[in-house]
Symmetry: C2
Subunit: 103 residues, 2 copies
Amino acid sequence: MFQALADPARRSMVDRLCHGPASVSELAEPLVMSLPSVMQHLQMLEASGLVRSQKVGRVRTCRIEPAALRLAERWIGERRAYWEGSLDRLGDYLDAHPEEPEA
Amino acid sequence: MFQALADPARRSMVDRLCHGPASVSELAEPLVMSLPSVMQHLQMLEASGLVRSQKVGRVRTCRIEPAALRLAERWIGERRAYWEGSLDRLGDYLDAHPEEPEA
DNA sequence: TAGATACTTAGGTAATTTATTAAGTATTTT
DNA sequence: AAAATACTTAATAAATTACCTAAGTATCTA
C-alpha cells in the first residue's frame, strides 16, 4: 500500500481519481508513458486495494477505494500519536531527572 | 517518503523509533538482517526526512522527525477529503439526474 | 595498550520495479 | 463488414532496491 503510493505516476493517478472516476485513457492522458505502463501501475493500485475498476463495453472505469486511504492515514496517525505521547513521557523524564541530559 | 515507508524493515524501524530514540544496534536487533543492511535502510529513512540521527562517541542515536510523518498524513488526508467531497458531489448529481446511471 | 564494541565503507549479487515495443482481443462506429 | 477505439497480453530491457560478506575506523574498557 505504501509501496503503491511510492511511485509518482501512481500518486498522480490517485490524485486524478480523487476528483472522480476515470477511464484508463483518462488516467494515462497526463502521464508521459505508454498505455501498457499505465496498466501495470493500475494493477499495482488495485492489488494494494487503493483503487477498484470495472469494465463496461470497451471502457474500464476506475475509482478510489477510500477505506484503503483511511487505513494508510490511520497507520501514520497512530505512529505520530505514539511519538507525541513519547515526547510527553520524555518531558516527564527530563522533569524528573534534570541532571542527566538526553543525548 | 512513501518510498521510505514502502519497506517492512523500514516501517519496523519507524515503529521502534515512535517509542523513543534508539541506537543503530537497537534498531537492528529485531530484524533478521546484517548491520550494513540496517544502515542502508537508515540512510533512506534519513534521506526521506522521516528520521534524524547524530553520533556521540561510537553510538549513533536515531529519532523520528514528526514533521515528515505529519506531511505524509496530510497528503493522504487531503486526498481522502477531496474524494469524500467528490462523493457528495456525485450524490448531488445522482439526485439531479436519477435517469442516468453512473457507470 | 590490547581487545571489544559500534558502526561504516566497499564491492558485488539477486530480486523487484518500471518502462518499452509488438501483437493481440473485444467493442463501437461508419 | 471494415475501420477505429480502448484496452490487454507477452516478452524484454534497464534501473533500482535489498542483501550480503569482508574489511575498515573510531571509541570505549579492562
